[in-house]
Symmetry: C2
Subunit: 408 residues, 2 copies
């Protein structure tokens, strides 16, 4: 059975980790920073040394291409990203990108003639130092000038990064590819959690990337003297918020697993030892991989908030703060990942991704899925991020065979 060249892949990971290396053992390669550009230059050298074709598009996405004999064949994409958060770790993005490169090298060396072009891509600015999922959004044709006018990292930083990389807003907007030319997209990424490590599994096949809904709940009662107002006559807004926090947790755990809920901000007013809180603003966020389930969570959580408000004689106001749509992943790509893992005798499970990835953008234009690789302690965005060599190799082998299966 075909396997990747394990020493070469591990050597690549070690070499890339020296670019933007931090004293704590991690890397700092924010998108389009000098360290990121150095990483891309290094990647280009590996691509060319392997006899693959190097490509860079208008969004700065860099690729290794193994062309099919038929020039009008569709392209089977795989990859991840080379940028990191400031003071990030060595595996987030790098593992998926270098495993993709290694898979192409292995296929080329095996002399396999496939009916698709293979492309191992590193997307620009996955982490959001500038925009977030910038390269995949550009490729998917989902960027707008309006969106670029107010980038998450600030306009000056975006323009400076583009200039440093020889890119422009115009080139970003022109980086769109025709979805009809794509066969599929598949990504490997470390799990930013401990489900695989906890269960002792080799791989997690991601069935969906969660949608995220954010809502402000405002409970309003009556500020009152904390001495002379008997407990039975209070309209304590914090009593309502506190009861909601606990029951929302229990409800989501019992009815919406593996969905999650968080109350991350709480403002109680007027805010004094001796005044009963009259008003509480509570930030509610909940995530699930299914929009239908998110609808049900929203209905049930808001009904709970209303019930709790009524119990404590409070009024309730609800304002939606933001909404990111869930991305269900492609069953064909999921099946290919599972078949590849099965062929290699690796244990695996299905799970959702509770954080965002380029795969969610790619899933809008082509069949896409991704697999998670165990990460010790679930650490990510952290210099101590670590995946054992064996897990890296297993994952790369799975990607290799997934490509072979999808190439048909």
């Amino acid at each position: 059975m075909l396997h990747v060249n394990a020493p070469r892949l591990l050597a690549d990971l070690a070499a890339l980790a020296r670019i933007g290396a931090t004293p704590e053992g991690g890397v700092s390669r924010p998108a389009l920073s000098p360290a990121d550009l150095e990483g891309r230059a290094w990647f280009r050298r590996q691509v060319e040394a392997a006899g693959l074709t190097f490509h860079q598009d208008g969004a700065g996405n860099v690729s290794a291409i193994l062309p099919a004999a038929d020039p009008v064949a569709r392209t089977l994409l795989c990859g991840s990203h080379l940028d990191s958060v400031p003071d990030g770790g060595r595996f987030d993005g790098a593992l998926g990108t270098l495993a993709a490169l290694e898979a192409l090298r292995t296929i080329r060396e095996a002399g396999l003639a496939l009916p698709v072009h293979l492309e191992a891509i590193a997307f620009t600015d996955e982490e959001g130092e500038l925009v977030g999922l910038l390269g995949s959004q550009a490729l998917a044709g989902q960027l707008t000038q309006a969106g670029l006018d107010h980038p998450r990292g600030g306009r000056d930083k975006l323009l400076a990064g583009l200039a440093r990389a020889g890119l422009s807003e115009a080139s970003l907007l022109a980086a769109r590819r025709d979805p009809a030319a794509l066969r599929a997209f598949v990504e490997l990424h470390i799990e930013q959690g401990t489900r695989l490590i906890d269960a002792g599994l080799d791989l997690g096949v991601v069935t969906a990337i969660v949608g995220i809904r954010s809502v402000w709940l405002t409970f309003t009662g009556q500020a009152a003297h904390a001495g002379t107002t008997p407990l039975t006559r209070r309209k304590d807004a914090l009593w309502g918020a506190a009861e909601f926090i606990g029951r929302a947790r229990d409800m989501v755990a019992a009815q919406f697993d593996p969905g999650v809920v968080n109350c991350g901000i709480l403002h109680a007013e007027p805010g004094a030892f001796n005044i009963v809180p009259g008003r509480v603003r509570l930030a509610l966020e909940f995530r699930h991989g299914s929009e239908a389930t998110l609808d049900a969570m929203q209905t049930d959580l808001l009904a709970l908030a209303a019930e709790v408000a009524a119990r404590f004689s409070l009024s309730l106001a609800v304002e939606e703060a933001s909404r990111a749509i869930a991305a269900p992943l492609d069953s064909g790509v999921i099946a290919a990942l599972e078949a590849a893992a099965g062929r290699l005798g690796l244990s695996h499970t299905r799970l959702m991704s509770f954080a965002g990835h380029d795969t969610q953008v790619m899933s809008r234009i082509t069949p896409a899925a991704m697999a998670f690789v165990p990460s010790v302690g679930g650490l990510s965005h952290n210099p101590a991020e670590f995946t054992p060599d064996e897990a890296v190799i297993h994952a790369a082998d799975v990607l290799l065979h997934t490509l072979l299966i999808l190439a048909g």
Copy 2:
């Protein structure tokens, strides 16, 4: 049976309410403000017009005195205060002061020779515009220069008020009276709550003025990604605080009634929709009339906080913020108030005061107690504060007979 002159007392209340009157129907006579000084000047005229002796001490406490035949007799004190909070109501303080004046007038007119001096006193700055309970603390010898150096209302305001009233820090500190010269103290005050109104009772005899304990509770867990961290692996500090808030309420209601508890301030950090709160600071205050019960409340509330912290894998830190000692009131004065009410055929109950009063200071140097008069809606420190005429008259009659009983 002897009764106060009801029309005269009501006319006095109406006249005093015109001094510092606000458009909303309340009064604004902050301590030693021009309006407060005008109120004191008016009081002095009523005292002298009634043939009583006017007295002002070094703390600005103003009194009407009905002397006993024996100049070395002890003094039986009654009264309350003439100052108000800014934009306060017409009854808080005024009712107790004018009922005391009316009781002395009635006794003088009845030609009763009592074995004690009677004194109807208005204490300076009960409300705390300057220091809080200033006049009673001065009389009780409980002021210190250190305390005056950092007054609640600021040093400039204190010095300006004293100068306006012709007083000084030296005169304040010299206003102490010899406790051996006092027989007792008794005060009428509106109830700052609805227990009497709710129960349809004429009078509340106060058995204790609550002690107040304030504690900061800090729950510390682990800030974490609100997506990738499963609910089962979170150490959410807000989960602990929320559970504590609800269970503390239920515990105090079930085990420490009529004690009260409040969580008036909550700070959750780091404070973002998508980050699990790693740290919560919670302001806990609880009140009861018995120090032994306060000790038990503190033990049980802190044990609850520790239990909740352990349940959610949090650490707990406790810092005491402040402590005001409970003031149990004198059983003899309480019995006199109840006997007077009984003699007049008025309904009454025993209750605690959940707010501070001059009586708590006086109770440290002489047998003291107080009675609450119903107040519609429990409003206080509010222009809409209202006690019906009949309730005012009943209360003044109770004070009159309480003085007669205590005078022996």
